[in-house]
C-alpha cells in the first residue's frame, strides 16, 4: 500500500467499527481515582512515612499488648513489687532492670507508654472536636460574630500555655480527687487520676485555638464555592452545611493538624509528669518514669534511658507521619 501521507487513498482500517474496550476508553480516559486513593498512593510512596507507621504500630503493640504478654509469660505487673529483685540492672529476667521497689521496669515502661499514647490521642480528640466546630462556626458566620470569636482566640493564643497547665494541675488536683471519691458516676475516672484530667481540661481550654484558626481559614475559602451556595439554595441548614460540606471538604488539613497535636500533647504530659504533676503513683507515664529515674541517675542511668528513648521515638514517628500525611493529603501545603 502507498505510504505517502499526501495520497488521497483511504485506509479501509479507519472505517471499521470501534471495538467495545476502545469505546470505553474514549468515554473515560482513565479510571478516576478518589481523593483517598490518591492520598494513600502518595503516602505509600513516602518511605519515611511508611516506616513511621510501622514504628507507631510497634509502639502501640508494645504498649497495649505488651503488659498482657509480660503477665502471661513472666507474671510481672506494673505495680507488683518483687522483694528479692530490688535495684536489678538489665538482665535476662528483667530486660530493663527493676526499680528501687522491685518493680519490673519493662512492664512499667509499657504501661507508661500506654498512658502517654492515650493522653496524646484523647487530648487530640478533644482539640479536634472543639477546634473544628469553633473554627467552622466562626468562618461560616463571618462578620462581627467571626470578629469576636477570633479576638477571643487571639487572647487565648497569647496565654503562656505551660504556665496555665501547671496552674490548673496544681489547683484541680484536690477538688477532682474529692469529686472522684464522692461521685458515683465519676468514680470510673478515679483510676485516670486528677493529674491527667486536669491536662485534658487544659487542652480543652487552650490548645484548640491552632486548630480553630486553621479550620476557619479553610472554611472562608470553601464557603464561597458554588456547591455551598447550591446546598443553601436547596434549603440546607447551617448545621448541615458545616457537618456535611465544610468539614468533610477540609478533612485533609484537619487530619494533618491533628497528627501534629498528638506528639505535642505527649510532650506536654511528659513535661508535667517530669516536674511532678501529671499521673499519680502507682500509675506510670513515660515522663513520670523519667522523673523517678532522676533520683538515682548516677547509679542507674539505664532507668532514664528507656523511657526517654521511647518518648523521643514516639514524637519522632508522629512528626514524620504528620509530614508524610501533609504531603499526601494536602499537596498544596508542601513546602
Amino acid at each position: 500500500m502507498n505510504k505517502n501521507p499526501l495520497s488521497l487513498q483511504l485506509d479501509p482500517e479507519m472505517f471499521k467499527p470501534v471495538p467495545k474496550e476502545e469505546r470505553v476508553q474514549l468515554v473515560t480516559m482513565r479510571p478516576s481515582t478518589t481523593y483517598w486513593q490518591d492520598a494513600s498512593r502518595r503516602l505509600k510512596r513516602n518511605k519515611v512515612a511508611m516506616i513511621s507507621i510501622v514504628v507507631i504500630l510497634a509502639v502501640f503493640a508494645f504498649a497495649f499488648l505488651g503488659p498482657y504478654i509480660m503477665k502471661a509469660t513472666t507474671g510481672f505487673t506494673y505495680e507488683e513489687q518483687i522483694r528479692e529483685d530490688v535495684d536489678q540492672p538489665p538482665s535476662l529476667r528483667h530486660w530493663m532492670g527493676t526499680d528501687g521497689l522491685g518493680r519490673d521496669l519493662m512492664v512499667r515502661v509499657m504501661v507508661g507508654t500506654r498512658i502517654s499514647l492515650l493522653v496524646g490521642l484523647i487530648a487530640t480528640f478533644i482539640i479536634l472536636i472543639i477546634g473544628t466546630l469553633y473554627g467552622a462556626i466562626a468562618g461560616l458566620a463571618g462578620g462581627w460574630v467571626d470578629n469576636i470569636m477570633m479576638r477571643f482566640v487571639e487572647i487565648l493564643y497569647s496565654v503562656p500555655d505551660i504556665l496555665i497547665v501547671i496552674l490548673l494541675s496544681v489547683t484541680l488536683k484536690d477538688p477532682l480527687t474529692i469529686m472522684f471519691e464522692s461521685g458515683g458516676l465519676l468514680r470510673g475516672l478515679a483510676g485516670v487520676g486528677p493529674g491527667l484530667i486536669s491536662i485534658f481540661i487544659t487542652f480543652a481550654l487552650l490548645y484548640w485555638v491552632g486548630m480553630a484558626r486553621m479550620v476557619r481559614g479553610q472554611v472562608l475559602q470553601i464557603k464561597e464555592q458554588e456547591f455551598v451556595t447550591a446546598a443553601r439554595a436547596l434549603g440546607a441548614s447551617n448545621r448541615r452545611i458545616i457537618l456535611r460540606h465544610l468539614i468533610p471538604n477540609s478533612i485533609g488539613p484537619i487530619i494533618v493538624t491533628a497528627t501534629f497535636q498528638i506528639p505535642s500533647a505527649i510532650f506536654v504530659e511528659s513535661f508535667l509528669s517530669f516536674i511532678g504533676l501529671g499521673v499519680s503513683a502507682p500509675m506510670a507515664s513515660l515522663g513520670s518514669l523519667a522523673s523517678d529515674a532522676m533520683n538515682g541517675v548516677y547509679s542507674y542511668p539505664y532507668r532514664l534511658l528507656f523511657p526517654s528513648l521511647i518518648i523521643a521515638l514516639i514524637i519522632l514517628a508522629f512528626n514524620q507521619l504528620g509530614d508524610g500525611l501533609r504531603d499526601a493529603l494536602d499537596p498544596k501545603m508542601k513546602k
Binding site: 517530669f274 515522663g287 523521643a312 519522632l316
Partner: protein
C-alpha cells in the same frame, strides 16, 4: 501605627488581667487552706494567720485587694519561706533563670540562623540532608531527655563538667545546650525555608548579576529578609526558655526561679505560685507585644491594619 500599637497594648493588658483573675479564681476554689498541713495548730492561731494574710475577708474584697497589689506588682509574703516576700524571691532568683534563658536564646539564634542558611544554600545536597536529619531528631527529643543524657555523659561517665550549682562559667554549658537544642532546630528549619524562598527572588538574581561577591549577596541581601520569620518566633521562644527552664533547673540543680516555682508547687505555697505565674506570664506577654510592635518597623512590607 499608633492605633495598631494601642490595640496590641490593650490586648496585652487584657490578657494579663485575665490571667491574674484566673489565677486568683483557681487558687480560691481549692478546698482547705495552706495552713491545714501544719497539724495541731489551735484554731485561734489559724484565725490569726488567716487575718494576717487577709484570708478572712469576703472573696470579692480579697480579689479587689489582690488585683490592686498585682497592678503594683506586689505579690505579698510567701508561706513556705517565712519572712520573705514573693517579690524578693523573684528579684533574687529571676536573674539566674533569665541568665540561663538568655544564654540559650542567644545560642539558639547564633547556631540556628547560620545552620539554616547553610542548609538552604546546599539545598538537596548532602549538607542540607545532614542538617535536616539533625533537626528532625533535635525537635523530637524533649528538653529533659537531652538534659539528663548530657548529665550522664559529661557528668557521670566522663566527669569533665560540673553537674550542679552555678559557680563558674562551666556550669552554664550543659543547661544552655539542653535548653537551646529544640529552639536551635526550630530556628534552623525556619531560616532554611525562608532562605529558600528569598534566594529564588529577582533581586537576588540582580545582585548576583551585578557580580557581587557571594558572601555579600547572602549576608547582606538574602539574610536580612530571611530572618524575618525568626523575629516573630522570638516571643514564643522566650516562653519556651522560661518554662523549659523549670525542667533544666531541676536536672542541674540550679537555684533559679524555676526550681523555686516547682518547689512551691509541691509545697502548695499559693502566693508564690500565683506571683510567679503572673510574673512569668506578664513577662512573656510583654515580650510578644514588643515583637509584634517592632515587626512592622523591621519589615516595612507588612501592612498595619
Amino acid at each position: 501605627m499608633w492605633k495598631f500599637t494601642f490595640r496590641r497594648l490593650v490586648s496585652a493588658v487584657v490578657t494579663i488581667f485575665l490571667i491574674a483573675s484566673l489565677t486568683f479564681l483557681l487558687m480560691n476554689i481549692i478546698p482547705g487552706s495552706p495552713f491545714n498541713s501544719e497539724k495541731g495548730l489551735p484554731p485561734q492561731i489559724i484565725e490569726a494567720l488567716k487575718a494576717k494574710y487577709g484570708l478572712d475577708k469576703p472573696l470579692f474584697e480579697q480579689y479587689v485587694t489582690y488585683m490592686k497589689n498585682v497592678a503594683k506588682f506586689d505579690f505579698g509574703p510567701t508561706i513556705k519561706y517565712k519572712g520573705r516576700t514573693v517579690n524578693e524571691i523573684i528579684r533574687d532568683k529571676f536573674p539566674i533563670s533569665a541568665k540561663v534563658g538568655a544564654l540559650s536564646l542567644g545560642l539558639a539564634l547564633a547556631i540556628g540562623i547560620p545552620l539554616g542558611s547553610l542548609a538552604a544554600l546546599n539545598h538537596e545536597k548532602i549538607g542540607d540532608r545532614l542538617i535536616m536529619l539533625f533537626t528532625t531528631f533535635g525537635i523530637a527529643v524533649p528538653g529533659f531527655v537531652i538534659g539528663t543524657l548530657l548529665l550522664i555523659t559529661f557528668g557521670v561517665i566522663f566527669p569533665i563538667l560540673p553537674t550542679f550549682g552555678l559557680d563558674s562559667w562551666k556550669n552554664y554549658i550543659m543547661p544552655s545546650i539542653a535548653l537551646s537544642l529544640y529552639p536551635t532546630c526550630y530556628i534552623t528549619r525556619l531560616t532554611r525555608s525562608s532562605m529558600l524562598d528569598v534566594i529564588s527572588q529577582d533581586y537576588i538574581r540582580t545582585a548576583k548579576a551585578k557580580g557581587l561577591n557571594k558572601f555579600i549577596v547572602i549576608g547582606k541581601h538574602a539574610l536580612k529578609n530571611s530572618i524575618l520569620p525568626v523575629v516573630t518566633y522570638v516571643g514564643p521562644l522566650t516562653a519556651y526558655v522560661l518554662t523549659g527552664g523549670f525542667v533544666v533547673e531541676k536536672i542541674f540543680t540550679i537555684p533559679g526561679l524555676g526550681k523555686f516555682f516547682i518547689d512551691s508547687i509541691n509545697a502548695r505555697d499559693y502566693p508564690m505560685i500565683m506571683g510567679t505565674t503572673i510574673f512569668l506570664a506578664s513577662f512573656i506577654i510583654i515580650m510578644n507585644f514588643v515583637v509584634d510592635v517592632l515587626y512592622p518597623l523591621i519589615d516595612p512590607r507588612i501592612k498595619i491594619r
